[in-house]
Every structure is written in structure tokens, then in C-alpha cells.
Amino acid sequence: VKLPKHLLAWLSLVVVFVFLDKPPREILKNVSIFTFRFYQEPSVASAKWFGPSAGGEVIPSISIQIRDLSLSHHFENYDLSQKIRSDPWIFQQTLATAWPLKLRNDSPDRFFAPKEALMPGCIQVDQKSEVILAKCQ
């Protein structure tokens, strides 16, 4: 019996569409749309890719505020309250964004969430919309 190669090839085509990780229509649509936009106005389409702040919108704003406060106060390290630590995404992104500043459990410079009660021995020294900075003894 001869191997029905053409049949297998066409059936394989079906597998290709099952094999793709996301619905293939969505991928093909996205590739076409973005390529079309890119060729229409390459400078506009690519403008968002460049610059040190490009894509910063994916970083949680609290993480950016913690990093900015740490830099403006020239910290060597910092600590986060339990409430901030309780959200793994915020916790990890804060550590990643503030890097190379390190998280230290014994740091006197501790960040709290708004409306969160400060620990005894902590005094508020600065504030942003999503975070409170306190100096703790």
C-alpha cells in the first residue's frame, strides 16, 4: 500500500491549526494588523518601543512609586509591609523594579499601603498616592 502523502499533508495542515498555541486566526489577524500598521507608518508604530520608559505601563504603579521614593531618599535598602507583601505580583514586581536596591527585613525604611496602620516605632516621612514611606526604629 502506497503511503497517501498528499492526504497526510492536508490532514497535517489541520494539525497545524490545532498545534498553534493561541487561536490561529487571532495570531494571523494580529500579525497582519500590526505589520500593516508598521508598514503604513513605521515611525509611529515603532515610537512606543524606544526610550527608557517604554512599556512602563505594565509595571504596577505602586512599584514605580516605591522605586522613586527609594531613589529620591537615597536608600541603601528598604522593607515592605505585610499588606504590600501579600500580593505576590506587586511584591515581585516591586523587588524587580527597585533592583539593585535590596529588600531587607531589618531596614528602617519601610513602605506601607495607604490606610494601613503603621507599626509601633514607625513615623511617616513621605507619601505618594499608593504608598506611605515610614522611618522605623
Partner: protein
């Protein structure tokens, strides 16, 4: 084209190896030279690479693992100008980030961003595109001959959506597939270049993630067993070509040296008595077994489809040698699947959560190697099989 693909892969690994070996990022001039050479090699592929690049850059890096593991490591390497004591991989506060994971993509991204001059959340994705260059060059060379074009294209294009998110599973799937197809090519042609491609694809697998090491172990075991059983004399060729894996695998040794020097702990600690306790519990539960099987086998419908096609093609394939080579290839898929299954049995995390967040991507190398098993089976160039 195949030579260009091999050269591109060698350059990438060399680049990475030098970074690890010297502990510091290469100069901008050196990076630009490598990039210029890669661009030259890949220039015929621009009509394909540009739309894929545009697709990749439609969003910044936002997947959890991409941001918390791979590109966080990359930023650490970028900020400390290399892999060294200042990088901070041994800092206890980032143990959640799996600092022991391989650093091929992180170091490539760090080098690219050094050349760019600043860090942002879009451009590190260039490293993913760069790693696809050898894959597309290899694909182009294989398509010149293969009738099973659709399957080979699927093997490379299928995992692209995963690659785009900044996770490593898609790239692992692509290069795992290439290692098997190059072994098949080498078995037919006896060309050293094809054997070099086997080692280089395995070398890239090693640099991507820990699962890559598992895959390489399984693939080398099956390939060695195949050579010994079928044509022991070819071992001489393999032995004479042992300088090639030195290029492909040396970065793993250097990375292990760094991990040991910096006392970076491995996150494979669950492979202990507690892990085996989990296995015992889950084996007796019964539900867990069904749950893992369902998630691994049916989360991607392609697996069942490919297995059916494999069965049909196996039945129609007349050459015993081709069937046996395809069986060797599918053994790699099967053994890798078994390891995945065992890992899920041992996981210290909630099984349901672990499966739901990872099964669709960890299974990708099984899909790609199954695809290649089918490609081998559909091969009709039996005259060259020996």
C-alpha cells in the same frame, strides 16, 4: 543556508559563553559586530522575520514568569554589567525568582540592552527574535528538500505565541524538535555539519531552562542507544566530533561553576523524600493521575491528532529502518512526557494550580518532538537510510 543557521547558532552560544566565561557583558562594538553578522545571515528571511518582530513588539513584556524570572535576571545582569558577584543571584530576597535557572536569554537580552544603552520593557524581546534566527535559517534549509513542509513549519510556528510572551517553553520546543530532525539528517547524510547542528540545538536547549537539561539527557540517551544498536561504528564519528559539544555545552559547565561559587541554591529541592511522599499520596488518590493525564494530553488537542497520524503513517511506512528511527524519536517524546508527569506528581505546589498555570506550555516540547517523529516517518528517502 544550513551553514548560515549553524553559524548563527554558534555565534549566539559563543556570545553567551564568553559573557559567562569572562563574567562581564561584551563591548558594544563586539555586540554590534555579531548583530551585523546575524542580520546579514538572516537578511533573506526579513520578509518573515519583520512581521514576526512586529507581532512580538505589539505589547511590552507582561507575562508573570517573563517579568519575574527571565527578564528580571536579564535586568540584573544588565545592571551589574555581567554575571558576577554583584549581580545578586544569591540574594535571599529574590529566591522566588529561581535564580538558578539558565541564563541564555537573560544574558543575550542584557547584552542587547547594553548595546541599546538603556533598559525598557519592549526591546529585551529582541533576544527572543534573535534566538529564532537560527531556527528560521535551519527551517529554510530543511524546506528545500522536505515534502513534509507543513509539519516542519508547524513545529517552528506553533510555539511562537508562547515565545512572544517571553517564556522559554516555546523556544525549548523548537530547538528540541530541531535536535531530532538534525539527528535524522545526520543519520542519512553522515555530514559532520548535521551532527554539529544536533549538538548546537541541544546546547541551546540547555541554556533555556532546567527542563532543557532533562530533554538533553533523554535525547542523548536515546540517540546513543540508537547508534549502539544500529551502527556502532558511527560512534567513532561521534567521538571524533566531540569538540563540537564543547562549543554547545560548555556554557552549562561555566554556569554551574558560577552557581557553585555564588552559592545559588537550586529550586529542585522538591526532588527529595517529601517529593516522593507527594508521589505516593497522589498515586493512591487516583484522581490526581487522571487530572495530570487530562491536562497534559488534552490541554493541547494536537497531541492526540499527532498520535493518530503517527499510527496511520507507521502502518503505511514500508521501511523497517524508517519505522525504527521514528520509534526512537517518539521514545524521546514519551520519556520527556513521563518526566513531566513525574514532576507534576512530585510538585510541592497545589496540583490543580500548577497544572492550570503550566501544562499548556510545558507540553510544547512533547508536541514538537512528536511532530518530528511524524516527519521522520513520512520520509521516503529510504535509500540513504543505513
Amino acid at each position: 543556508v544550513r551553514g548560515a543557521g549553524t553559524l548563527a547558532a554558534s555565534l549566539l552560544i559563543l556570545n553567551y559563553t564568553i559573557t559567562l566565561f569572562t563574567g562581564s557583558l561584551l563591548s558594544r562594538g563586539f555586540i554590534f559586530s555579531i548583530l551585523a553578522l546575524l542580520l546579514l545571515l538572516a537578511s533573506p528571511l526579513f520578509p518573515v522575520l519583520i512581521p514576526i518582530g512586529v507581532f512580538f513588539f505589539r505589547e511590552p513584556l507582561n507575562a508573570w514568569d517573563a517579568r519575574s524570572i527571565w527578564f528580571f535576571h536579564s535586568r540584573m545582569i544588565y545592571l551589574s554589567d555581567g554575571v558576577n558577584a554583584q549581580t545578586g543571584f544569591n540574594d535571599p530576597s529574590i529566591a522566588w525568582s529561581h535564580p538558578d535557572y539558565p541564563t541564555l536569554v537573560p544574558s543575550l537580552a542584557a547584552q542587547l540592552m547594553k548595546a541599546v544603552g538603556y533598559w525598557n520593557e519592549y526591546l529585551p524581546k529582541l533576544s527572543l527574535l534573535l534566538l529564532l534566527v537560527p531556527a528560521f535559517l535551519w527551517l529554510a534549509s530543511l524546506l528545500q528538500k522536505k515534502k513534509e513542509t507543513v509539519l516542519l513549519v508547524a513545529m517552528v510556528l506553533g510555539p511562537l505565541a508562547n515565545v512572544e510572551t517571553g517564556l522559554m517553553d516555546g523556544l525549548l520546543a523548537i530547538y528540541a524538535g530541531f535536535s531530532l530532525i538534525w539527528f535524522h539528517q545526520w543519520w542519512q547524510s553522515r555530514r559532520t555539519l548535521d551532527l554539529a547542528n544536533v549538538y548546537l540545538s541541544l546546547g541551546i536547549c540547555l541554556g533555556l531552562k532546567n527542563e532543557g537539561t532533562v530533554f538533553v539527557g533523554i535525547a542523548l540517551f536515546c540517540m546513543a542507544a540508537w547508534i549502539l544498536i544500529n551502527h556502532g561504528s558511527r560512534l567513532k564519528v561521534v567521538t571524533r566530533s566531540l569538540w563540537i559539544p564543547a562549543l554547545g555545552f560548555v556554557h552549562l559547565l561555566i554556569w554551574h561553576h558560577y552557581k557553585s561559587n555564588l552559592q545559588i541554591e537550586s529550586d529542585l529541592h522538591f526532588l527529595n523524600s517529601v517529593g516522593f511522599q507527594h508521589v505516593k499520596e497522589r498515586l493512591f488518590e487516583g484522581i490526581s493521575l487522571k487530572h495530570i493525564s487530562n491536562e497534559l494530553l488534552f490541554s493541547k488537542r494536537g497531541i492526540v491528532g499527532l498520535l493518530v497520524f503517527f499510527g496511520v503513517a507507521f502502518f503505511f511506512q514500508k521501511s523497517r529502518q524508517v519505522r525504527r528511527l521514528a520509534l526512537m524519536s517518539i521514545s524521546v517524546s514519551f520519556l520527556y512526557f513521563c518526566v513531566l508527569f513525574a514532576v507534576y506528581l512530585m510538585t510541592p505546589y497545589d496540583l490543580n494550580w500548577h497544572l492550570q498555570t503550566s501544562a499548556t506550555r510545558t507540553i510544547l516540547p512533547v508536541l514538537s518532538t512528536l511532530t518530528i517523529s511524524l516527519v521522520i516517518l513520512l520520509n521516503d528517502d529510504q535509500s540513504k537510510m543505513c
